[in-house]
C-alpha cells in the first residue's frame, strides 16, 4: 500500500492517534505560546498607533485572528462532520465534536473584543452591523451543535446528529450573512468602516499574521488534547485505555 494511505489508516486507529497526539501536544502549545507572545509584542509595542483610532486599534490583534478562527474552525468542524457522516470514521466524529467548544470560545472572544472595541470607537457596545450579527448567529450555531451533542445519550449517534446540524449550519451561514447585509442596508446607510486597506502598513500587518498562525496552533493543541480525552472516554472498555489508566496510577 502507498505509505501515505497506510499512515492515514494508522491515524484512524485510536491508540496510535492517542500516542501521536500526546507527542505533538507540547510542541503545538509551545509554538502557540511563542507565536502569541511575539505577535502581541509586535502589535502592542512595536506597531505605531493608528492615526484615527490611536491605540484602540491594537485590539485588532486579538479581535481579527479570533474572527478568522471562528470561521476556520466551523469549516473544519463541518468537513470532519461530513467525513463522519459519509465514511463513518470514528476519529472524524471525535475531531468534529472536539472542535466545537474551541470554535465557540474563539467566537465569544471575537464578540467580546468587538464589543470592547466598539465602545470607544462607535460609542456603543453593540451595533446590528452585518458582520456582528452573523458572528452572533455563528455563536448560536456552535451552541446548538454542542447542546445537541450533549443531549443525546449514545456518543456516536450524538456525534452524527451534531455533525449533521453543523452541515446545515454551514449552508445557513452565508445566507445569514447575505440577508443581514441586505436588511442592514435597507434600514441605514453605510456602516462604520473599521479600516481601509491603505491604512494597514507593514509594521501593523506582520504581528496580525503571526497572531493568525499562532491561534491556529492554539486551536490544534486544544483540539488534540480534547480529542485524546474523548477517545479515552469512548474507548474506555478497550485494552489500551485500561493500560493508560493503570500506568497513570503508578506514576501519580
Amino acid at each position: 500500500m502507498n505509505p501515505l494511505v497506510l499512515w492515514f489508516h494508522k491515524l484512524g486507529s485510536p491508540p496510535y492517534f492517542y500516542r501521536l497526539a500526546g507527542r505533538l501536544l507540547p510542541w503545538l502549545w509551545g509554538l502557540a505560546a511563542i507565536g502569541i507572545a511575539a505577535g502581541l509584542y509586535g502589535g502592542l509595542v512595536l506597531a505605531p498607533p493608528d492615526y484615527q483610532q490611536s491605540d484602540a486599534f491594537r485590539i485588532i490583534y486579538i479581535h481579527v485572528p479570533s474572527a478568522w478562527m471562528s470561521l476556520f474552525i466551523y469549516f473544519f468542524m463541518a468537513v470532519n462532520g461530513f467525513i463522519a457522516l459519509v465514511w463513518r470514521i470514528k476519529l472524524s466524529e471525535i475531531l468534529a465534536m472536539a472542535a466545537a467548544p474551541v470554535g465557540a470560545a474563539f467566537t465569544f472572544i471575537c464578540l467580546a473584543t468587538g464589543s470592547l472595541w466598539g465602545k470607544p470607537m462607535w460609542g456603543t457596545w453593540w451595533t446590528w452591523d452585518a458582520r456582528l450579527t452573523s458572528e452572533l448567529v455563528l455563536l448560536f450555531l456552535y451552541l446548538g451543535v454542542i447542546g445537541l451533542y450533549h443531549a443525546i445519550e449514545d456518543r456516536r449517534q450524538a456525534a452524527r446528529a451534531a455533525a449533521f446540524l453543523a452541515l446545515i449550519g454551514i449552508v445557513n451561514l452565508p445566507i445569514v450573512h447575505f440577508s443581514v447585509k441586505w436588511w442592514n442596508t435597507l434600514h441605514q446607510g453605510s456602516t462604520v468602516k473599521l479600516f481601509g486597506p491603505s491604512l494597514i502598513d507593514s509594521r501593523m500587518l506582520w504581528p496580525l499574521l503571526i497572531m493568525a498562525v499562532a491561534t491556529k496552533f492554539a486551536f490544534a493543541a486544544s483540539l488534540l488534547s480534547r480529542a485524546r480525552v474523548d477517545l479515552l472516554e469512548l474507548e474506555s472498555g478497550k485494552d489500551w485505555a485500561r493500560q493508560i489508566a493503570l500506568a497513570e496510577e503508578t506514576s501519580a
Binding site: L141, G144, A161, I168, S179
Partner: protein, 227 residues
C-alpha cells in the same frame, strides 16, 4: 408481498394524520391562541398609542407567529414516536422523504393555517396600516411553510429526547433568522411605499429550494436519530 403504490401510502398517511388531528381538534386552536396572547402583551408593554403600535405591527405579528409555530413544532413527530408508527414509517418500502413531506404538509395545514387566518385579526389589534396587510399576508403565506420545513429537520434531529423544548429553539432560531429578515423586509418596504417584489421573490425561491431539500434532510436526520 405487495406494498401498494407510494401515492397510496401518502394518501393513507395524510388521511390518518388528519383523522388523528380531528379527534383532538381543540388542540388545533392552541397556537393561534398563543399568538393572540403574545400580541396582546405588546400594547401593555409599549402603551396603546396607535401610531407607535402601527409602526411595529407587522414585525410583531411575524415574531408572534414564528414563536407559535416553534411551540407546535415539537408535536410533529412526538405522538408517532410514542406509538411506534414513526419507526414503521422509516422501515416502510416507500421513499421516506415523500412520506415526511406529507407529514410536514399536514402539520402546516393544521398549525400554520389557523395562524395565517388569524393574522389579519392580530394586525387589526395592533393598528396595522391597511396598505401593509396584503404584503404581510403574502410574506406569511410564503414564510410559514418555509419555517415548518426548516423546523422539521431540527425536530427530526431531536426526536428521541424527552425534554427537547429549549434545545429545539436553540437549533431552530439561527436557521429562522434569514426567513424573518426577508418577511420583515417586505413588510417594511410596503410600509414605506417601496416595491415589495424582491424580498417576496427571495422568500419564494427559498421555499422552492426548501420544498425539495428539506424532506431529504429531514429523512437523513430521522435515520440518524432513530439508528
Amino acid at each position: 408481498m405487495s406494498h401498494g403504490t407510494a401515492l397510496g401510502a401518502c394518501r393513507a398517511l395524510i388521511v390518518r394524520d388528519l383523522a388523528l388531528l380531528w379527534r383532538r381538534r381543540g388542540d388545533a386552536l392552541n397556537p393561534a391562541l398563543f399568538a393572540v396572547m403574545v400580541i396582546m402583551l405588546f400594547p401593555f408593554a409599549l402603551g396603546p398609542e396607535p401610531q407607535m403600535l402601527g409602526r411595529i405591527a407587522a414585525g410583531t405579528v411575524l415574531v408572534a407567529l414564528l414563536l407559535a409555530g416553534l411551540l407546535s413544532l415539537d408535536a410533529l413527530f412526538r405522538s408517532d414516536l410514542e406509538d411506534g408508527s414513526l419507526e414503521q414509517l422509516v422501515l416502510s418500502p416507500h421513499p421516506l422523504p415523500l412520506l415526511l413531506a406529507c407529514k410536514i404538509a399536514v402539520h402546516w395545514l393544521t398549525t400554520a393555517l389557523p395562524l395565517l387566518l388569524a393574522a389579519p385579526l392580530l394586525g387589526e389589534l395592533l393598528f396595522l396600516p391597511p396598505q401593509v396587510l396584503g404584503t404581510l399576508m403574502a410574506a406569511l403565506a410564503l414564510s410559514t411553510p418555509l419555517l415548518s420545513l426548516i423546523g422539521a429537520v431540527c425536530v427530526a434531529l431531536t426526536v428521541g429526547m424527552r425534554r427537547s423544548g429549549m434545545l429545539l429553539a436553540l437549533l431552530v432560531l439561527p436557521l429562522y433568522v434569514p426567513v424573518l429578515i426577508f418577511a420583515a423586509g417586505a413588510c417594511d418596504a410596503a410600509q414605506q411605499g417601496l416595491p415589495v417584489a424582491a424580498p417576496l421573490l427571495w422568500l419564494g425561491a427559498a421555499l422552492v429550494l426548501a420544498l425539495v431539500l428539506a424532506p431529504l434532510a429531514c429523512a437523513a436526520a430521522l435515520r440518524i436519530s432513530l439508528s
